[in-house]
């Protein structure tokens, strides 16, 4: 039995035990023994989860969504609508709220809780209107001097004919352009799926946090496997190759902190997940808030300026440049 098969078998066993446990609890039976077994197995399964396991956790239907965090972390939430140009995109939330009593602008991808809502919100895949609504709120934050909190959870920008017609690429580029130049503090949290440009469009900030079992990738593992091996079924290998887990991205310098989740995923204890996210948001926002705006913009520029890894071609490397950006900087 391979590692992956072994892992899969244990995951199935865990699922079965969890179901059994739920039934026993419902019937009022004594569950102490079973609970201990479940906990032990859960720890075994999740101590070193495979990247594909994390992908599944990030996409888990019960995983807390924007709305779950809004109600637990923020108070006084008022959703604002519309891009003032064409429409209002239900796949993007944008509004005003309080974080620890202080007003902030909150923007995030809006997935649904059931099929009907998912259809309405396009599974959190924005159209250009969504990004333009977000950018409008970013500019409002800038005008009023309010911090921005962005919660990222999207499979991708919506791939549709009308999205292309109305400038999906322009909307994403413009939103990033707005964020990198914003005077306001910007703290981003990848809470679920960080799907490429569709995520980055609202995911550029002074600090980027990432939930423990969230993913962030330039392409979905399935798409990667289809391109690389012409076989979407090799998605597990692709998930490993893409380095899309929070720990990977922390090591690559793309995210600043990994926010811990309950073992096995935030859906097992949304309150605890939200509390951890809340603590991290508060702490990071406090830190970036302390900087003067010009300094903050400069630091944000440098942060993204440093991202990426490259080296000097050996043939030319005899005399390394004294430009600090010329070589690998991580």
């Amino acid at each position: 039995m391979t590692d992956a098969q072994d892992r899969a078998a244990r995951e199935r066993e865990l699922e079965q035990l969890e179901e059994q446990l739920a039934q026993m609890r419902a019937s009022g039976a004594d569950t102490a023994d079973l609970e201990a077994r479940v906990q032990a197995l859960r720890e075994a399964v999740w101590r070193h989860p495979s990247p594909w396991q994390v992908v599944q956790a990030a996409r888990h239907p019960q995983r807390p969504k924007l709305g779950d965090y809004l109600t637990r972390i923020f108070t006084d939430v008022v959703e604002l609508h519309g891009d003032r140009l064409f429409g209002d995109d239900p796949a993007v939330f944008a509004g005003l709220a309080r974080l620890d009593g202080e007003p902030v602008v909150v923007v995030g991808h809006h997935k649904g809780k059931d099929t009907r809502e998912n259809v309405y919100r396009r599974w959190g895949m924005p159209n250009p209107e969504g990004y333009r609504k977000a950018a409008r709120l970013f500019r409002l934050a800038d005008k009023l001097g309010l911090p921005v909190v962005a919660l990222v959870d999207t499979p991708a920008a919506y791939p549709g004919v009308e999205a292309e017609e109305r400038g999906q690429a322009e909307a994403i580029a413009r939103s990033i352009f707005t964020l990198v130049q914003l005077r306001s503090p910007v703290v981003v949290a990848i809470t679920g799926e960080g799907g490429s440009g569709g995520a980055l469009a609202i995911g550029v900030g002074d600090r980027v946090l990432m939930m423990q079992y969230a993913i962030y990738s330039v392409i979905p593992p399935e798409g990667c496997a289809a391109i690389l091996w012409r076989d979407a079924a090799r998605k597990e290998e692709a998930a490993s190759a893409l380095k899309l887990t929070a720990q990977d991205l922390l090591e690559l310098g793309v995210v600043d902190e990994v926010v811990p989740e309950p073992l096995g995923g935030a859906h097992r204890d949304p309150d605890r997940a939200a509390a951890a996210l809340h603590e991290a948001l508060t702490r990071h926002l406090g830190e970036v808030r302390a900087l003067p705006p010009e300094e903050r913009i400069r630091c944000r520029y440098d942060k993204y300026r440093r991202m990426g890894r490259f080296s000097l071609r050996p043939a030319h490397a005899a005399a390394p440049s004294d430009d600090p950006r010329s070589a690998d900087v991580r």
Binding site: G160, V218, L252, S311
Partner: protein
């Protein structure tokens, strides 16, 4: 100036677009064209006007005055940051096949006499994909332009972010957009030339933030790939979807310029945006 720039190798382009021999078959009108005539015509089909793809060096030769190009950062190379399957091999092969170091050529030169910073993406090199090196070189081009008070001209031809560098490639969108912001703040012009094809992460970053967007006729320009969209909407895409002409109607492109007029048009735009006065 590097050797491959003075004597560009056309083989790879020719291999893909044109059958071997004296005659080439046009992929659009299917007519046979005498290869030398096609070359003389800037690789535009004399029968139907189809604009064949150009390699990075061909694009540079088309755009920049002879003998004026000084390349920047030719020595930057990817270091396979994820240890991604097959990437190191494919990268090495791309270098060998094209004789070029990466998917972008950056530097300064003159365009019909106007000094400019130039970045040309090279679709021959791993589909013009943007990884750490492309992002870094593009960002440096904008930064150096600010230092030197030069306008920037980019020519994009890219399948998007480079999958094999994972989310580091995605971060190049933010990096290049931030650098465009510096040029913007400095009040310097930016002409973005969109060539066939410009898609994905390159479209969703610097390429869509030009002061003026110039496209070549028929060029494919878009964000999402046609196959992904077809799978999503479960129907055929409209005729001419994501072509330069489609984007012009959608208000996303300023001008569609035939290849023969590209250089003069870009130079004219730079002049009109006040760039002529800068001495390079």
């Amino acid at each position: 100036m590097l050797n491959w720039l003075r004597r560009p190798k056309y083989e790879s382009v020719e291999r893909r677009d044109i059958p071997a021999g004296l005659w080439a078959k046009c992929p659009r009108c299917a007519q046979l064209v005498y290869r030398k005539e096609l070359e003389r015509n800037l690789k535009v089909c004399p029968k139907c006007g189809y604009h064949h793809r150009l390699s990075g060096p061909e694009r540079l030769r088309l755009l920049v005055d002879e003998g004026t190009f000084q390349e920047w950062d030719a020595d930057l190379a990817s270091e396979d940051p994820l240890g991604f399957p097959e990437y190191a091999d494919r990268y090495r092969q791309a270098v060998q096949r094209t004789g070029r170091p990466e998917a972008v050529l950056c530097g300064r030169g003159r365009i019909d006499g106007v000094p400019a910073a130039v970045a040309v993406l090279d679709f021959d090199f791993l589909g013009g994909s943007m990884g750490s090196v492309v992002g870094e070189k593009v960002a440096r081009t904008f930064e150096r332009a600010v230092d030197l008070r030069l306008p920037v001209v980019t020519c994009s031809a890219s399948g998007g972010a480079r999958m094999q560098e994972g989310v580091l490639s995605l971060m190049q969108l933010a990096k290049t957009v931030a650098a465009v912001g510096r040029l913007h703040a400095a009040g310097l012009p930016f002409v973005s030339v969109l060539c066939d094809p410009t898609t994905g992460g390159v479209t969703a970053s610097f390429a869509m933030l030009g002061d003026v967007h110039v496209a070549e006729p028929g060029a494919l320009i878009g964000f999402a790939g046609a196959r992904v969209i077809e799978q999503t909407i479960r129907q055929k895409l409209p005729e001419g979807f994501q072509t330069a002409e489609f984007l012009l109607r959608c208000g996303l492109v300023d001008l569609i310029v035939p290849r023969a007029e590209l250089k003069a048009t870009v130079a004219r735009l730079l002049h009109l945006m006040g760039a002529g006065e800068v001495v390079g």
